[in-house]
């Protein structure tokens, strides 16, 4: 699934990569300067590698909003190769518009608004990373812009085919709550932790697909991906087509009966059966004892209660 995302084949309006930071081992001593939040983290370079292959694979132009210095540095060479496919926007410098009023970013995509002409077809947008604009532009405003892309596939008249963004789980305004909110609106969530990507993809019909994949970054910036385990598919299964576990599927002989066999079976009179030709008085509840004396029976004609004085 990670492969189909990086090739731009996955149909999903908003793909959110969540960088959960390095694993902390309980009991291990950490020095005073060990950093939980690392711009050069492994997940972040993984995201850049995905972007590189994404730009090559997609036929639409990709606009990258660089909210980190290293993003533009990493992608500069690629931009020279594909100038029409990859457009870099430096969002970090002067985002408040203090030097140049026109550069003030009032909402998440204001920097693209100015650079796009009317006749542009659909574009893809990449935000690396979302952590900074959540602080500078505001959480509520960013969420609303992202939701517009999910709902309408366009923002301020720009048609957006797909939006990829990275967010660092440790670098958000309101802690874990904001990550939950972001995940809630994203159509696909990729959780990155310890070289494992857990992907939750919502299909438009409401079906949920979950995958876990292991990734490694090779020396040339390529990524190798292998599925960790095919975790069971979660679908809102329709009960009608549920797999049957009836014995006839497992038995090595025929379990059912043909019509002829059923007819023969019904002719057999079994004990305790209520037969239709029982006499009427028995049906009515009156009882009668029929006894056929045996040859060896000791039949006594005397009244057994003769000695009693009744």
């Amino acid at each position: 699934m990670l492969r189909s995302i990086s090739d731009g084949r996955l149909q999903s309006p908003l793909i959110l990569f969540v960088d959960n930071g390095p694993e902390l081992y309980p009991g291990k001593q950490y020095g005073p300067f060990s950093s939980l939040v690392d711009e050069d983290s492994d997940s972040s370079s993984m995201f850049l590698s995905v972007i590189k292959s994404y730009v090559k694979g997609s036929e639409r132009a990709t606009h990258v909003l660089c909210w980190q210095r290293k993003t533009s540095q990493h992608l500069e060479t690629l931009q020279k190769q594909f100038p029409s496919k990859l457009i870099l926007h430096d969002c970090l410098s002067d985002f408040n518009g203090w030097i140049d009023q026109g550069r003030h970013q009032s909402h998440l995509f204001s920097i693209i608004d100015n650079s796009i002409s009317e006749d542009t077809r659909e574009i893809n947008i990449v935000i690396d990373s979302l952590s900074n604009p959540l602080f500078t532009i505001g959480f509520g405003s960013c969420i609303q812009d992202l939701q517009k892309i999910v709902n309408f596939g366009s923002i301020n008249g720009i048609k957006v085919h797909q939006l990829l963004c990275l967010v660092n789980a440790n670098l958000v305004p309101f802690g874990p709550a904001s990550i939950l909110h972001l995940k809630h609106i994203a159509s696909t969530v990729v959780e990155l932790k310890c070289h494992v990507a857990s992907i939750t993809h919502r299909k438009p019909g409401g079906h949920i697909e979950k995958k876990e994949e292991k990734y490694a970054i090779l020396s040339e910036g390529e990524i190798s991906i292998e599925p960790l385990r095919a975790s069971a598919l979660t679908e809102i299964r329709h009960t009608e087509e549920k797999p049957s576990t009836l014995p006839q599927d497992v038995a090595s002989f025929r379990v059912g009966l043909s019509d002829k066999e059923k007819e023969d079976r019904s002719k057999l009179v079994l004990p305790y059966m209520r037969t239709s030709d029982t006499p009427q008085e028995i049906e009515d509840g009156g009882g009668k004892v029929f006894y056929q004396p045996d040859a060896v029976d000791d039949w006594d004609d005397e009244d057994p209660d003769d000695d009693l004085d009744i």
Binding site: Q147, F152, A177, I208, I236, L246, M273, R274
Partner: protein, 387 residues
């Protein structure tokens, strides 16, 4: 003084000459508490809630994680309104309200399901176990036995409402504040106030108040989708996310409830409670609404592959059944409820364990539910009870 009040009491007991409750299409008077009931659109859900939703109340739905079933409930609620010619009001910031309206299911005209089950019964008489022939069949879907007196319609999820029917239906959509709106209520996020003032205006304009006497009484169905979702975060909120919601959301529900109490209207509000870190928000919302249900979907959770829940798509937790016009709430016979979504129909059933068909030394659902706990009384760690 005492005699005066007793006299006053005697004179105040007057039997009203006329029936004050007007007849409204798609409603019925409750036998328990004389409340007007309207259907939620799902007959099995009506049964759980005491044969229908009382008019003038809020039903709170705590959304499942992906919101699929909560949205489905709203669709049923609105479709039932459309089938009964009730005016509708749909508010959502997360989705385009119009797209939900276009997706409403169509009512089924006649129910042919019960006839076929009757036929099957006669075809296969029990010859040996004939004593069981006349036993009542176990009804796992609550409320399915008295289908003759059913309040709502049955809907087919595969068919959606035609555009002409949608045009003839009286509905209002809200997806955000408009320019000349004025917020009410002093909320931190003014959007709550905008929505509330719009509802208030709508109730006034449509003459839905109990005092109003319009030519024909009807019931306004208010559906509010995903209230308190990320889209309800104030664009300039400075505090933590939960603190704002904790103040605004229960307050909104309280204001809405007081509006509904004196109107011919009922509301279904879905809230994504799984997004709130503070459990108090959920409790407050339940407290401020009349009835609360929680939908727990198995989609994406470990329950999905659990054999115990093989037949179901999720669990329904009844969080609150408020007493309305009565001291005691009607309690459904079972609170272990589960739901499943078939291709055409959504049903709520009593939770049953599946039949055990595989030969196994131990029943596998026991392992899963009990975890590593050992049931044996003796101290040895063998998992089987030896006799």
């Amino acid at each position: 003084m005492a005699s005066l009040t007793s006299e006053g009491n005697i004179t105040s007991f007057q039997k009203k000459g006329r029936n004050r409750i007007p007849y409204i299409q798609g409603t019925r008077q409750s036998v328990q508490n004389a409340q007007i009931l309207a259907s939620s659109g799902v007959p099995s859900l009506d049964h759980v809630l005491g044969n229908g939703l009382p008019v003038g109340t809020i039903l709170l739905i705590e959304e499942d994680v992906f919101g699929t079933f909560a949205k489905l409930m709203l669709k049923y609620f609105l479709a039932e309104g459309a089938a009964c010619d009730h005016p509708l009001f749909l508010a959502s910031r997360d989705i385009v309200p119009k797209s939900l309206m276009k997706d409403l299911p169509l009512p089924i005209k006649s129910d042919s399901g019960s006839g076929s089950s009757q036929g099957a019964k006669v075809e296969d008489p029990m010859t040996i176990a004939w004593r069981y022939q006349n036993m009542r069949q176990v009804q796992s879907a609550p409320g399915s036995s008295n289908s003759g007196t059913q309040l709502g319609h049955n809907f087919d999820l595969t068919q959606t409402i035609s555009p002409e029917d949608l045009d003839s239906c009286d509905f209002t959509l809200w997806s955000g504040p408009e320019e000349n709106d004025l917020p009410v209520g002093g909320f931190i996020n003014p959007d709550y106030g905008f929505l509330l003032s719009r509802i208030q205006k709508h109730l006034l304009d449509g003459q839905f108040g109990v005092q109003d006497e319009p030519s024909k009484h009807s019931i306004l169905r208010l559906a509010i989708h995903s209230l308190g979702s990320p889209l309800w975060v104030n664009s300039s909120c400075g505090q933590s996310l939960d603190a704002t919601i904790k103040k605004d959301l229960p307050r909104f529900l309280l204001c809405l409830r007081s509006l509904l109490r004196e109107s011919y209207a009922l509301a279904m509000v879905t809230v994504p409670c799984h997004l709130f870190q503070d459990p108090a928000i959920q409790r407050l919302c339940e407290y401020q609404s009349d009835m609360a249900l929680k939908f727990e979907s198995f989609a994406g959770s470990s329950y999905e592959t659990n054999p115990v829940f093989k037949e179901y798509h999720g669990l329904l937790h009844v969080r609150k059944l408020g007493p309305i016009n009565t001291l005691a709430t009607p309690v459904p016979e079972s609170l272990d409820l589960a739901f499943k979504l078939r291709r055409r129909k959504f049903v709520i059933e009593k939770l049953h364990l599946p039949p055990e068909l595989q030969e196994s030394a131990q029943r596998e659902q026991d392992d899963i539910l009990s975890g590593n706990k050992s049931f044996s009384c003796s101290s040895n760690q063998s998992s089987k009870l030896d006799f």
